[in-house]
Amino acid sequence: MEASMAVHMLVQIPLLVAAGWLLAHGLPPQWQQRLRNLAGGPVAPVMVAILASLYWMMPRALDAAMTDMRAEILKFTTLPLLVGLPLALSWAHLSPVARGFVWTNFVSMLAVLGWLYMSAPMRVCNVYLENAQQHAGRWMIIIAVGGFAGWLFGWLAGAFHADDPD
């Protein structure tokens, strides 16, 4: 999976996050509640998820995962446990505005990174070819646009539905 930069970033990493998400929902509800209480609410877990995912967006972290076994192990543990799991625990407890904030921030970050990867005059990862980087950048922008459209559509549909007297 890691042979392609795009698949590494846009399939493997999201799958690891999804694994953590599923793990959180598999926990007994009282455990979930206990973890939330421990953090005092949804804000701290969301911060953990944002910052941990930010770390794995660094080209250096991606390179390290390919060349250093310890970094690879860290990637396989922190993406589920520090991104997927805390996000799942807190997502439903965030206000709609906070959810919109987190989501649009994520989408715009993805778009900016994608644009950087596409137009950087150099390779940012030593383990990947330059055209792999451009390919990954293109997919990041496609996913960002799709992610934003999906969110906008969901929001509009929700607003429309709320106006509906039915």
Binding site: G40, G41, M58, A64
Partner: protein, 202 residues
């Protein structure tokens, strides 16, 4: 936001700042290429003893050159792009060295990582293309795969095959100090700038 949530968030931010500080060498290196450059400046690195064969058929190791400053670059002779710029840079360097000072003793070493194709004849042909002075500039290859891997590892050079039977690799020049330690890695720079770097390193 309750006090518990606020303090938990603060702890998270502080921990993250520490992790990012550690993971980027103090917010200096966000790519692996910058990281390897920062690392050798902070802590010059000794090089492994690897047998090299040059364009004249001479066997040597980088340690044999210790005492003089050395600049090392990595190439493969079939390369039609950046390796030619690296070759042109060494050509300019060998022709613009000063008569005095550490840089007057500078040794240039071009190392090929393409063991399958680059035999002595290929190295000799490539050296000829740039009019390499064999007393100053050795165009060489490790004698075996094991030596090559040790060398790439020590320099932090990563070579990956591309779609057209060539390779992509870090494009950089590697400066060894007079103890033979890797002490500075840089982009292709004007010769004058590299010469002043060499003088400063010794």
């Amino acid at each position: 936001m309750n006090l518990r949530s606020l303090s938990a968030t603060l702890v998270v931010m502080l921990a993250a700042a520490a992790v990012f500080y550690w993971g980027t060498d103090g917010f200096r290196a966000f790519t692996a290429e910058t990281a390897r450059r920062v690392e050798v400046v902070d802590k010059p690195r000794a090089m492994p003893h690897v047998q090299l064969l040059d364009q004249m058929g001479r066997m040597f190791t980088l340690q044999d050159l210790a005492g003089d400053p050395v600049i090392v670059e990595f190439i493969f002779t079939r390369c039609q792009t950046v390796c030619l710029s690296l070759g042109a840079l060494f050509y300019q360097l060998q022709n613009s060295l000063p008569d005095h000072g550490p840089a007057s003793r500078l040794q240039l070493v071009t190392i090929s990582f393409d063991l399958d194709n680059d035999d002595r004849a290929a190295l000799h042909e490539w050296a000829g293309r740039f009019d390499a002075d064999p007393q100053r500039w050795r165009v060489a290859r490790p004698v075996d795969e094991q030596g090559l891997q040790a060398l790439l590892e020590a320099f932090g050079v990563i070579v990956i095959p591309d779609a057209v039977h060539g390779f992509e690799h870090n494009v950089a020049v590697h400066l060894l100090d007079s103890h033979g330690r890797l002490a500075h890695i840089d982009d292709i720079q004007p010769p004058e700038r590299l010469i002043s770097l060499v003088d400063r390193l010794q």
